[in-house]
């Protein structure tokens, strides 16, 4: 590769050359002087004999230059000049591309962070999560131990579950979020501590034997101010002493992508936090996510076979508890496939839409380029006639488009990087440390660059055929505009295609927005408006056993004394809130209580007597609870219509009937309430049952406070009053208050996210459509300005002029949007999985899309129309 070294040696070569020529002249002059000339004459004669030194030097240098590179540079300079001459076109093109490439970079950045990039642990490729059955796929602790000890496929298996706790470091009690893990968690993952040590399986010597806690780097940094002496200190977790043994490294943020924990603690000590023990409850499935590295040489399929044989052993050994379900392996990080699958599908959908936008932008710029090329066909024809090679002209055109696309790509990438960084620190759900770690990496930059180059080549190639088909002779003779705009061109097709794509985007974003609005006003089976939630976990303040319901009753009675409060109730969780408990129930006559004989799987809430009134859930039949439904009274429950339908076969009766809880307890139904939404807004009707909290106590406490009247007073004021009342009862209760509407943010999160993304894409689609139609209309008007001027001079009415000038772009717009609307309606069927009640068969949506395209057409053709109308025939005819 001699030319590479030549490239770097060039300066030396040039210097040698100049020196050599100087010496040559000197020698010749001396020679002449020896022959008797004066110095001056000799130097002149020497220069004469030598010839033009500058030209010769230049020609000598050319020998060393790289002709292709230099001429490409010339192309670039020429292209820059061309672009500078039409700043409007340049700015439009760069912005369009920036939008399109930026959108792609953002979506790809999310996909990269959530799907493509593995967890930040060593050898992430061989790390798998074990799923069981089709539900949550999580395991119980005894099942985990069996899996860990009996499998032959994994190097080791670790388990973890997310938990919340009140952490008291001596200064303030605050609610923190962490993992309860098996002792071998860090060793399985191969993580080394940043400070101190981690706990190991050797620390586990039975229940409550390992009161150790490892802090995450972020928590240590923010709450211990990087104090290295924090290791060894004792902190209180839910009023139990734990020793800080170490700090995790900064890059390790747990094994869930969306939830980064503040602390890690051994699961053997979980009873101290949770108040009840799950370590021996084999039936308590859905608790632990089990992860591990496959042994070298073991394929995932072999591992699944291995796990399934353990599964059949478990089902045979514990027939009452473990029913036979198959095991599968999933990528860890997104709660296995439960969140992972829809997230993947959604992101893939977004990527597709973003790709469509880019395609639309390319089509758009392609048609603009074709228009410009038509203007330049004379120049090209001339160059061809003068013997220029086609490849040379092609290169020049592509240089221009690639320059544009690189500029647009850079701009888009910068914008997307800013956006992605903001997304990374965004906390969409209050109270939970959820965030989306989507910082871009080198892969994102490369993809953006590749997209920019590809799109530049794509839209640059559009006009090429048109240019080279041209007959130089004809064009030079008659000018370029002779055959403009009478038949269907590639340009028209591109415009229709692009408008169709944009209409799809606009349609789906309107459907999504509409769905969201509807979901905000739909019937949840409770009335979140105006109500305020105060939530706490009494075990964080050290309450256990009978003291829990007693305290809850005192809290209710205390808050009831606040003026302006109508009803107060307590529940262990609220529908659509953070955590939902599900339980199997059996028909009264069922004796064999194995999972497969269950009559229904139902949501379960432990509530206080006033709950239905305070929550705004209407009681359809029977009675609500009272304080007399306590531990000494017969067990009772209130169920919803879906429960009655599934267990009693009819959604209207059931009151007075009996069923059995998962432990076999016989329970009588005393009331029937309406159905609601419990887990997500898009779910089908689900069974739910309510137990009186005195019969089924729980330390999780959500105080539900409904003020009198419609919206009396400031919710913040009421919340403050509630906090004061409860602090009076007990200083140490960690407490959070917020409106019930705000609390629903978690449930709304997917729908909101989808809507925002689709909305943004829709707006971008609309913008691209506008620039496309605008470009087309403006070009068509400027091409036919002379003709329009003549029409005006001959007395054409404004409407006729407009029809002549803009009829074609508008016709294309109509065709494109009709096609796009149809496609969009098909596409929104897919949306219905994420967005509540997303249906395109909605007059509002249809009208919205039609209105939107009309508006687009109006906006995009406004300026060209003005220009067409103001065409001054005199000026135009004088021009040439």
């Amino acid at each position: 590769m001699s030319w590479i070294t030549d490239l770097f040696r060039r300066r030396a070569i040039y210097n040698d050359l100049a020196e050599e020529m100087r010496l040559h002249l000197e020698e010749r002059a001396e020679q002449l002087m020896r022959e008797g000339l004066s110095r001056h004459q000799a130097e002149q004669a020497a220069r004469r004999a030598f010839g033009n030194r500058t030209v010769l030097e230049e020609r000598s240098r050319e020998v060393w230059q790289w002709p292709t590179l230099e001429s490409i540079w010339a192309d670039v300079r020429f292209a820059l000049r061309q672009l500078r001459r039409s700043p409007g076109f340049t700015v439009t093109a760069v912005l369009t591309l920036a939008l399109a490439i930026g959108a792609n970079a953002v979506v790809f950045g999310m996909m990269n962070a959530l799907i493509l990039r593995p967890l930040n642990v060593p050898q992430a490729a061989s790390l798998y999560a074990i799923e069981h059955g089709s539900d949550y796929g999580y395991q119980s602790y005894p099942d985990y131990l069996d899996l860990r000890d009996r499998n032959r496929s994994f190097q080791s298996l670790a388990a973890f579950t997310a938990t919340q706790a009140g952490l008291d470091t001596g200064k303030d009690a605050s609610r923190v979020f962490g993992y309860q893990t098996s002792g071998n968690y860090f060793d399985t993952l191969g993580i080394q501590p940043y400070l101190g040590r981690f706990f190991h399986s050797s620390d586990e010597r039975g229940i409550d034997s390992a009161p150790y806690v490892v802090l995450s780097y972020a928590y240590w940094h923010s709450h211990f101010q990087d104090d290295r002496n924090a290791v060894g200190r004792t902190v209180q977790l839910n009023k139990h002493p734990f020793t800080v043994v170490g700090v995790a490294p900064p890059e390790f943020r747990g094994t869930l992508l969306l939830l980064s924990p503040d602390f890690f603690m051994p699961a053997v000590n979980q009873e101290q936090l949770d108040g009840q023990n799950f370590l021996n409850a084999r039936g308590a499935r859905g608790i632990l996510e089990v992860i591990g590295h496959l042994k070298p040489g073991v394929s995932p399929a072999q591992a699944v076979d291995d796990l399934n044989s353990i599964g059949s052993y478990l089902a045979n050994t514990y027939p009452k508890i473990d029913s036979l379900k198959s095991y599968t392996l999933a990528r860890p990080g997104l709660y296995g496939d439960m969140v992972g699958r829809p997230a993947r599908a959604f992101l893939a959908g977004l990527m597709l839409l973003a790709g469509l936008i880019l395609l639309a932008a390319c089509a758009n710029l392609g048609s603009l380029f074709a228009a410009r090329a038509a203007d330049r066909s004379r120049e090209v024809a001339l160059r061809l006639a003068l013997g220029s090679r086609r490849i040379r002209i092609l290169r020049q055109l592509l240089t221009e488009s690639v320059l544009l696309s690189l500029a647009g790509g850079t701009l888009g990438l910068v914008a997307s990087v800013v956006l992605l960084h903001r997304l990374s620190v965004w906390q969409p759900i209050p109270r939970l440390p959820v965030n989306v770690p989507v910082s871009p990496d080198v892969r994102v930059y490369l993809v953006a660059l590749a997209l920019a180059l590809a799109s530049g080549l794509l839209f640059g190639i559009v006009p090429v055929r048109q240019l080279f088909r041209a007959n130089p002779y004809e064009i030079v003779k008659s000018g370029a505009s002779a055959s403009f705009g009478r038949r269907l061109t590639v340009r028209d097709l591109l415009l229709v295609l692009q408008i169709a794509i944009c209409a799809v985007l606009v349609t789906s974003s309107i459907v999504a927005v509409r769905g969201l609005v509807r979901s905000l006003h739909s019937n949840f089976g409770f009335e979140p408006h105006n109500a305020i939630l105060a939530d706490t976990d009494l075990k964080m303040a050290g309450y256990t056993g009978d003291r829990v319901p007693a305290m809850q009753r005192r809290m209710i009675e205390a808050v009831e004394t606040i003026p302006g409060v109508a009803q107060v109730a307590s529940a262990n969780s609220t529908p659509l809130g953070g955590v939902q408990v599900k339980s199997a129930v059996f028909k009264d006559e069922t004796r064999d209580l194995r999972q497969s004989n269950a009559a229904a799987s139902t949501f379960l809430y432990d509530v206080s007597p006033n709950y239905f009134q305070a929550a705004g859930t209407s009681l359809l039949a029977g009675r609500p609870f009272s304080w007399r439904d306590d531990g000494n009274a017969p067990r009772v429950a209130v169920v919803n219509r879906e429960f009655a339908r599934e267990v009693f076969g009819s959604s209207t009766n059931g009151v007075g009937g009996y069923f059995r809880a998962s432990d076999g307890t016989r329970i009588q139904v005393v009331g029937l309430v309406e159905d609601g939404k419990y887990m997500s807004l898009t779910e089908d009707p689900q069974a739910a049952m309510f137990f009186p909290m005195l019969q089924s106590p729980s330390s999780q406490t959500f105080l539900l406070v409904r003020p009198k009247g419609d919206s009396s007073g400031d919710p913040q004021q009421l919340a403050a009053a509630i906090r004061i009342k409860l602090r009076d009862l007990d200083q140490e209760i960690p407490l959070e208050t917020e409106t019930w509407i705000d609390d629903l943010d978690g449930a709304m999160f997917p729908a909101r996210w989808a809507t925002v993304s689709l909305g943004v894409l829709g707006i971008m689609g609309a913008l691209v459509a506008i620039t496309g139609i605008f470009g087309m209309a403006a070009y068509s008007v400027s091409k036919r300005l002379r003709e329009l001027g003549i029409r005006i001079a001959l007395g054409a009415k404004p409407t006729e002029v407009l029809q002549a000038a803009l009829g074609r772009p508008l016709k294309l717009l109509a065709i494109g949007s009709a096609a796009g609307l149809l496609l969009g309606i098909l596409a929104t069927k897919v949306l219905a999985f994420i967005v509540y009640q997303a249906t395109p068969r909605d007059p509002f949506v249809l009208a919205g899309v039609v209105l939107a395209t009309l508006l687009l057409g109006l906006v995009a053709t406004w300026i060209p129309a003005q220009r067409a109308l103001s065409a001054d025939p005199l000026v135009l005819l004088r021009e040439d």
Binding site: D16, E20, M21, E27, L56, S60, R61, E62, V63
Partner: protein, 101 residues
Amino acid sequence: MMILESLRRQPAHGYALVQHIHQRSNNLLQVEEGSLYPALQRLLKGRLVKAEWGVSATNRRVRTYEITPAGLHHLEAEISSFERMFEGIALVLNPGESTAN
């Protein structure tokens, strides 16, 4: 070709080359002396000659060119093709002589 032929006889610097060609052609070839240099650069780039800074017999700092093996090879190929062409031209110009041969 002339440059290569001159260099084959002995390595020389630019000025000496000009003088040499001047003399050898009996002053028939009147070209600008400087036009030698682009040609020399082409030869350098083609690795047909190599150049080195040194001191001449007259105690001047000069850049001496020397023919390389590749240059020699090239020169022989060029000369033979040139001779063939020359022969052809001669045949066309003097058809009588050719028949006589």
